[in-house]
Amino acid sequence: MVSNDDVRKLAELSRISLTDEEVEKLRGEIDSIISYIDVIQKVQLPETPEGTVYFESINVMREDKTPHEPGAYTDAMLSQAPRRDKNYLKVKKILG
C-alpha cells in the first residue's frame, strides 16, 4: 500500500506538481496497478539467464572525430527553446 506522502515523494522525484485531489486519486490507482504487476513476484525464474531479446546485439561505435561542422544545427535546435539568449538556453539561477 502506498500512502499520500509516498505519492508526493514520487511526484517530487518525477518533477511533477500535483494537487491534493490528484494525489488522492493516484494513490488508489497506483495501489491497484501495483497489486496487478506483483504477479511477477510469483514466477520461478531460472538460475542462469536464457536467450536475450536483444539477440546478438553489440555496441555500435563510430570514429572518434567531429561528426559535423560546429554550430551546423545550433539555430535549428535553439529555435524551439522557450527562452533563449543568443546561443544559450536561459534558465533560472541555480547557484545562490
Binding site: 518525477s14 506538481s17 490507482e29 504487476i37 531479446v53 563510430r62 524551439q80 534558465v91 539561477k93
Partner: protein, 474 residues
C-alpha cells in the same frame, strides 16, 4: 471521375503510369474526403497545406523521369503525430509539444520523401503513445469509422481510422505494446509491427525505446508489405537497427500454426473466440496444420511489460523539462518551473506512468520489479523460440475485446491495460506480428471489426504476410 479513394496503392501507381489520372487528382480527392469526414472522425490533427504542391512535384517526376520513380511516387499517406517531419509540428498529441516544430526528418520520412510520397497530415494518437484507445490524446478522441461513438483503438487510432475511412490508402504508425495492431483490428484494416531493429527509430518520439517500432497500416497486405519495405533498413543513426546483410534470411514455410490453447482459455469475447475458430478452419482449408503449443510463461507478459514500459517511459520523458523545447511555465525556482511545466503539459495518463516508472525504478524496488521483469522477458522469448522449432507463427486474437464505446473503460486505468494482453508479448520479445481483419461481430448493436494476430520468429515478416493472405483469402 472515378472514386480514387477506394483504390489500393498498386492500382494508384499503375493508373499514374498509364496517365489515367494524376497524383494531384488523387490527392485532391483524398483532401475532399478529409474535409468532409475529419470533423466528425478527428483522425487528423493537422492536414498539411503543402500536400498539393508535393503532388505536383510527384507528377513532374512521373512525366520527366518515370524510370527513376518509386511505386510510392505521388501516393498520399498519413503519418502518426510522433514521427518527425522537418518544419511540421510533431506534438505526440501532447500539450507539452503542442507548438513543437520538428527540426529534422525521421529516417523513415527521409526515405518516403525520396520516393516522392505525399504527406497528407499528422494523425491523432494517445498522448506520447500511452494508451489503447486514442482517448488519451490532448486533442480529443478519434471515432471509429465503422461505428461513430466507439474508439478506433490505440495508440495509432488516427492512422487506423484514416485508412479505414478511405482518407488515405496507407499510414505510418508506431507500436510499443500493440499500438499498430490493436487499432488495425478495431478499424478492420491490416497492421504490422516489424521485428525490433527492422526500421530505424531515429525521429520517432520515444515511448519505450526497447519496444518501439515504426510500422504500417493499410487496407491490403500487398500495400502494407510494399510500404514497409520502402523505408526498412539499417541506419547509422539508430544503433539497434539490424545490418542489411543479416536481413535476407529466408525462413522456409512449414505451413504449421501454433495455438497456445491454455492462454486462450478465458477472458475473450465469445464473438472473437468464434472468429479465432473460423480462422483456424480457414487456414486448414488453405493447407495449414494447427499445432497445440504450450507457452508456460506467456501469462506473465502483461505484468512484465507494464513494469518495463513504466520504467522506460518515465526515463524517456525526463527530457521534457520546459527548458530546451516545448511548453514552459514560469516559477520562483528552477525546480518549480520543471514541476509546473510538466504538470501543465502532461495529461493524467502520462503523469500516472511517469510516477509509476519512478516507483518501479526506486532503489528499494528495483530488484523486485525491473530486474525481475527483464528476466521474465527472456523467459517469454524462450517460450516463443521453442515454439518456432515446430511452427511458423503463433495465432492469437489481436484483442480480447471488441471495440468499445468512447468513455466506457474510464473506470480505472487497469481495465484499459488488460486489453493489451495479446499484443504486448511481441514487443517484449522483439518479434514481428501482424493483425489482419477477419470479419465483423454479429450480436452487437453495430457490426464491429475483429482482427486476428500472427506472431513469427525474428525477421519472418514475409511468412507473416503469406499466412495473413491465406487467413483472409476469399
Amino acid at each position: 471521375m472515378t472514386d480514387l479513394t477506394t483504390l489500393s496503392v498498386s492500382e494508384m501507381a499503375s493508373g499514374l503510369r498509364k496517365k489515367e489520372f494524376s497524383s494531384l487528382e488523387i490527392v485532391r480527392q483524398h483532401l475532399d474526403k478529409i474535409g468532409k469526414q475529419n470533423e466528425s472522425l478527428n483522425a487528423f490533427l493537422e492536414v498539411f497545406d503543402d500536400a498539393e504542391d508535393s503532388a505536383k512535384r510527384a507528377d513532374e517526376m512521373l512525366i520527366k523521369d518515370p524510370e527513376h520513380t518509386h511505386m510510392l511516387t505521388g501516393i498520399p499517406l498519413a503519418t502518426k503525430d510522433n514521427i518527425l517531419i522537418k518544419g511540421k509540428i510533431a506534438s505526440a498529441a501532447s500539450k507539452i509539444l503542442q507548438n513543437h516544430i520538428a527540426t529534422y526528418d525521421a529516417t523513415a520520412i527521409k526515405s518516403l520523401r525520396e520516393h516522392g510520397a505525399v504527406f497528407m497530415g499528422r494523425t491523432n494518437m494517445d498522448e506520447f503513445a500511452f494508451g489503447s484507445s486514442t482517448e488519451k490524446s490532448a486533442f480529443g478522441p478519434t471515432h471509429n469509422p465503422h461505428a461513430h461513438g466507439y474508439v478506433p483503438g490505440g495508440t495509432s487510432g488516427g492512422s487506423a481510422a484514416a485508412v479505414a475511412a478511405g482518407l488515405v490508402p496507407v499510414a505510418l504508425g508506431s507500436d510499443t505494446g500493440g499500438s499498430i495492431r490493436q487499432p488495425a483490428s478495431f478499424c478492420g484494416v491490416v497492421g504490422i509491427k516489424p521485428t525490433y531493429g527492422l526500421v530505424s527509430r531515429y525521429g520517432l518520439i520515444a515511448a519505450g525505446s526497447s519496444f518501439d517500432q515504426i510500422g504500417v497500416l493499410g487496407r491490403s497486405i500487398d500495400d502494407v508489405e510494399m510500404l514497409l519495405a520502402s523505408f526498412a533498413g539499417h541506419d547509422t543513426k539508430d544503433g539497434t537497427t539490424i545490418p542489411n546483410e543479416e536481413r535476407d534470411s529466408k525462413i522456409p514455410l512449414k505451413k504449421k500454426i501454433g495455438v497456445p490453447s491454455k492462454f486462450l482459455e478465458k477472458g475473450i469475447d465469445p464473438e472473437i473466440m468464434d472468429a479465432l475458430e473460423k480462422t483456424k478452419q480457414k487456414l486448414v482449408t488453405e493447407g495449414y496444420e494447427m499445432v497445440a503449443i504450450d507457452m508456460p510463461n506467456i501469462g506473465y507478459s502483461l505484468a512484465a511489460y507494464y513494469v518495463l514500459i513504466f520504467a522506460e517511459e518515465s526515463t524517456n520523458l525526463s527530457r521534457f523539462d520546459g527548458m530546451r523545447y516545448g511548453l514552459h511555465k514560469e516559477g520562483d525556482t528552477l525546480f518549480s518551473e520543471y514541476a509546473a511545466s510538466r504538470a501543465e503539459g502532461f495529461g493524467d495518463e502520462v503523469k500516472r506512468r511517469v510516477i509509476l516508472g519512478t516507483y518501479v525504478l526506486s532503489a528499494g524496488y528495483y530488484d523486485a520489479y525491473y530486474r525481475r521483469a527483464n528476466a521474465l522477458r527472456s523467459v517469454i522469448f524462450s517460450d516463443f523460440k521453442k515454439s518456432f522449432d515446430a511452427v511458423d507463427a503463433v495465432i492469437m486474437p489481436t484483442s480480447p475485446v471488441l471495440p468499445f464505446k468512447i468513455g466506457e473503460k474510464n473506470s480505472g486505468p487497469l481495465a484499459m491495460y488488460l486489453a493489451d494482453i495479446f499484443t504486448v508479448s511481441p514487443n517484449l520479445t522483439g518479434l514481428p506480428a501482424i493483425s489482419v481483419p477477419i470479419g465483423f461481430s454479429k450480436n452487437t448493436e453495430k457490426a464491429l471489426p475483429i482482427g486476428m494476430q500472427f506472431v513469427g520468429p525474428r525477421l519472418s515478416e514475409k511468412n507473416l504476410f503469406e499466412i495473413g493472405r491465406a487467413a483472409i483469402r476469399i
